[in-house]
Symmetry: C2
Subunit: 404 residues, 2 copies
């Protein structure tokens, strides 16, 4: 099959998947009474827990607004209204009334349950605010996003005292990939249409490049999840930990940044070191799918789910390989995309109810059959589908520009 | 096969297993330089991480002392010396110099890495101190155990401010089975040879009975892991969570307490509600072995490892069913013991290197091949074998007293 027809087939399947997925969330997740979203949803949309996990509240507001702002068929009152009610729930109940922290989880009506000593609830809060500002045209949301981005930068770079994590002498200052890489996404989302803000956060992006590249270890052969802040390896299992999906997600964040900033060596490293090598290393040649965790020395990881196949690394890999193909027109990347696409459609997708299963065992059978849970909401699947659809459309529109 | 010969066969296999297991730890786990133990050990004893997880430091000191004090062949200088060096490491490095808290993990040389906002590091610290007091005859260890037991009781019953966990309005006061049930073990271990201390802690045991029985829900059909402090069910996945191995462990703690205190209805409930029903519910009829987590409504649990077979529930079930058989002489309990015994020998035991694999997939294949890790040390396997050997010897010595 020629590349153009392959891409048309991908496009048509992904458009169908996106519709089913968005319909799933539109139909089952809205809390019309309190605002915000139910995310603990069974395979056919039944609510099995009313807890509102705040990463997922923020992510769903962002996702709805992005769909509203960029996909004509989702530019609807229903989508906007749910996003606004979600945004108001975030401002009123997820952000702590006494500090700049956001809660990790709250009850259905917004009473706080748990607070994490990290920056991620706040990251997804600000992504929601940023895109809600564009969807509504209301400046208050954008202001809130910028204010929180400043705060998160402050905690990550300068002083994390307010997070409340005790500093202990046996725990060396650690550079976590999750923190290093998230700023590419945050800055891109908040600033892409604002040159002044781009200038303001340029040093933050420089810092993020430096922090992210520290994770490339052992002569560029491996992306480690945690390193010392001086760029050397940490001892033990934590130091050897590899999260292939996370490396690949970092890869497409880096690739976007490298292309925008016209940085050729960074572009090369994003593709080779963060996308291609982690994919080859992380793919299970026996049963297919990406492992969740590996140990750089081939020792047994200590994470119980290390050999499970989780949905989101496959979403990140689909984005990363299509983006890489679009940048390079090298067929090996389209082939990798197809391999992940086929695995995902055969194992994660639920054609009868919409959305994807999240957690497969090593052999690829759903180990838990819910569509949403404490860490899975309306985010990775629709973000991936939306971005891939956009890229496929661009590729198809450009015609057959493929290097053979 | 007659019951007596079955029991002799169990005994001989378990004695062999205990030897192999203890030899594994004696050979590979000692840190001769700093004291304490390496617990992150591969299947053949290689150290893959030097971090000292403090639950496991305390447990290994307790286990060594118990073996030293009760099993003649382990009443050796080597065992005692390692226990004393472990105990000194605990007092010097695991207990915080500035509070009554113990750390969750420290570096090889004792620098603190992490502190948990719970009571469990402290529980295993005091178990270690208590048995080390008997092994050495040194009163300072017993004093330390009693002092910490008072502290842990204070945190659990009266005021947990010092644990540092924020109280949030959406998180109702919760009764965790792990906290309710552990005091049976703590009080039994610290006080069994001290009538005065038994009197002192009698009210604590009464409280523990009450707290533990609150977990029996839905007309006695199920043991839930978390309930409200008023004894009603919590909402959502947390409220419906079942941990079969934990219920069964609680069962034998309760059974011991009921027998000692001659409480017949508690004895009955321990056997039927906490041991037999959770075993029947928790056993995987397809592949064998005990599930790690279940949901009381049959919904998918959100714990990724819910269908994995972990070593320790099988250790608890072996103890519980042999103890129940010894109490009742009802053959159904010996049959259950045999079923678990056979599963464990066929799947967990490693006859070539000693100790058991800890983490099997649903089908019973080792998913991680290490013998020790952040949560698995020298504790559940040897405790189970030691206790079962003792019970089997008593049963055999009594002759054939079995009701048919």
């Amino acid at each position: 099959m020629g590349s153009a027809s392959r891409m048309k087939e991908f496009l048509s399947k992904m458009e169908m998947e996106l519709d089913k997925t968005v319909n799933f969330w539109l139909k089952y997740s809205h809390d019309d009474k309190h605002g915000g979203f139910f995310t603990c949803l069974s395979k056919d949309g039944k609510i099995y827990d009313e807890t509102k996990y705040c990463w997922l509240q923020g992510r769903q507001v962002w996702m709805y607004c992005k769909l509203y702002n960029t996909v004509p068929k989702y530019h609807t009152e229903q989508v906007l209204k749910a996003a606004v009610k979600g945004g108001e729930f975030l401002m009123k109940h997820v952000k702590s009334p006494t500090s700049d922290k956001c809660f990790f989880s709250v009850t259905r009506d917004g009473q706080p349950i748990k607070v994490q000593r990290t920056i991620f609830s706040e990251c997804f809060y600000l992504l929601a605010m940023s895109e809600l500002g564009r969807a509504t045209g209301d400046q208050k949301y954008k202001d809130e996003a910028v204010k929180m981005l400043d705060k998160v930068e402050h905690w990550a770079r300068w002083d994390n005292t307010e997070l409340g994590r005790p500093e202990l002498s046996g725990s060396p200052p650690t550079n976590a990939l999750a923190v290093a890489m998230i700023f590419f996404n945050l800055v891109d989302e908040v600033c892409w249409d604002d040159v002044e803000l781009q200038r303001k956060y340029a040093p933050l992006l420089e810092w993020s490049v430096e922090q992210t590249l520290q994770h490339l270890q052992r002569e560029g052969s491996v992306v480690l999840e945690y390193v010392r802040t001086d760029g050397t390896e940490l001892p033990g299992s934590q130091g050897r930990l590899i999260n292939p999906g996370h490396a690949i997600e970092t890869g497409w964040f880096l690739l976007q940044h490298a292309v925008k900033s016209n940085n050729k060596s960074l572009r090369e490293s994003a593709i080779t070191d963060f996308i291609l090598k982690p994919f080859k290393h992380g793919w299970d040649d026996v049963y297919g799918g990406l492992f969740s965790f590996l140990d750089a020395d081939g020792i047994s990881p200590t994470q119980l789910e290390w050999n499970m196949k989780l949905w989101w690394p496959h979403n990140e890999a689909l984005i990363a390989f299509l983006m890489t193909f679009k940048e390079t027109r090298d067929m090996q990347y389209l082939d990798a995309f197809e391999k992940i696409f086929d695995y995902s459609m055969n194992h994660f997708s639920d054609s009868s109810n919409g959305e994807w299963y999240g957690y497969l065992d090593r052999e690829g059978r759903p180990s838990m059959d819910f569509k949403g849970g404490p860490f899975k909401g309306c985010f990775h699947v629709p973000r991936c589908l939306m971005m891939c659809i956009q890229m496929l459309k661009e590729l198809i529109a450009e015609g057959n520009l493929i290097k053979m």
